[in-house]
């Protein structure tokens, strides 16, 4: 996969086991959503205090065999790996980041992971903008507040902010930031853009 982590988090706690710190009081989550290969795992890896873990999730979907001579519909089960990482923040808050694929076929899994999430950071590769439409549609359908982070690749073309906003059909209030998902500080800034958006929204209501 093109987005294989090329660096690990500057926040990794060497020797710390998987157990929650004793100070953990509130556990919150943010979805890091985007199409395959956009850099979700890279971003999570760049800020997680634990080596990102993953769960194997079963997707059951009705599918029609290509060679459908008998007209039999069969049910297949596919497995998708969902990566997640963790950041213990001062003050007893533990933030979990869940890498979430956004295709419509992941809908039931999406709903389960999104339950109780603060919001979503939608990662977009500007070389493949169309790939992000499904994710954005799903986030909006779920009603999760979100911010867009443009993961910059060396060969990304440069567009103006207006061009990108128009292409992604973003509302004026939706934050959009550039981000290098390999860099801890850059990933934190992208998460901060989302959290600030959430704060502004909660103040506005």
């Amino acid at each position: 996969m093109a987005s294989a982590p090329s660096s690990t988090s500057g926040l990794r706690q060497p020797g710390s086991g998987p157990h929650l710190p004793d100070t953990a009081r509130e556990l919150v989550k943010i979805l890091v959503a985007g199409p395959f290969g956009v850099g979700k795992t890279t971003l999570i890896d760049s800020v997680s205090e634990i080596t990102p873990l993953h769960t194997e999730e079963q997707l059951t979907e009705a599918s029609v065999a290509v060679d459908d001579l008998a007209g039999v519909r069969d049910k297949t089960t596919t497995t998708v790996a969902i990566d997640f990482g963790r950041i213990s923040l001062p003050g007893g808050v533990v933030l979990y980041l869940f890498g979430t694929p956004g295709q419509e076929r992941f809908r039931s899994l999406w709903d389960d992971i999104a339950y109780g999430a603060l919001g979503a950071l939608v990662l977009v590769d500007t070389r493949r903008i169309d790939d992000s439409f499904d994710v954005l549609g799903l986030v909006e359908e779920t009603g999760l507040p979100y911010a867009v982070a443009l993961n910059t690749f060396p060969d990304s073309r440069s567009y103006t902010e207006d061009q990108l906003r128009a292409a992604l059909d973003l509302e004026p209030g939706t934050p959009m930031v550039a981000c290098d998902a390999r860099e801890t500080n850059s990933s934190i800034d992208a998460l901060l853009a989302l959290v600030q958006h959430l704060i502004d929204r909660s103040a506005g209501t």
């Binding site: 996969m1 500057g10 926040l11 086991g17 998987p18 157990h19 929650l20 953990a24 509130e26 556990l27 919150v28 989550k29 395959f36 290969g37 979700k40 795992t41 800020v47 873990l53 993953h54 769960t55 194997e56 999730e57 079963q58 497995t79 998708v80 790996a81 990566d83 997640f84 963790r86 950041i87 923040l89 001062p90 003050g91 808050v93 933030l95 979990y96 869940f98 890498g99 694929p101 389960d112 992971i113 339950y115 109780g116 603060l118 801890t184 500080n185 934190i188 800034d189 998460l191 901060l192 959290v195 600030q196 959430l198 704060i199 929204r201 909660s202 103040a203 209501t205």
Partner: protein, 119 residues
């Protein structure tokens, strides 16, 4: 996304719960926090329930972390944890006091905490 690991888990997911597909209680979230109690572990506890107790040790883990460490689906952990809770061997607590929309003070502490991590 990561590539599938090589090697199969010791216990197939469908056997880990003894064939039970849904937990009796529906309240465990991915981030619900599990911890073992100090009750003595009874003889003959199913191996998968034992494995969950072992991974919890004397600390706390979320449902999703337990699933990742045991290489079982989240749904299987929900079943196992519910059974262990019924036996008094595990306690669980929800991740945050439920609030919709999220508490502004909590959001502010997340933002402050993230800022403090920058270097």
């Amino acid at each position: 996304m990561t590539a599938r690991r090589t090697g199969r888990p010791l216990v197939p997911a469908y056997l880990s719960t003894g064939g039970v597909a849904t937990p009796r209680r529906g309240s465990l979230e991915r981030l619900s926090v599990l911890a073992a109690t100090d009750q003595p572990v009874p003889q003959g506890l199913p191996a998968a329930q034992h494995a969950l107790l072992d991974v919890l040790g004397d600390g706390s883990l979320t449902v999703v972390e337990s699933a990742a460490l045991l290489r079982l689906p989240v749904s299987a952990i929900r079943v196992l944890a519910a059974e262990l809770t019924d036996r008094g061997l595990v306690t669980s607590r929800p991740p945050v006091p439920a609030a919709e929309p999220p508490d502004p003070d909590l959001l502010k502490r997340v933002a402050d905490g993230l800022r403090a991590l920058k270097h």
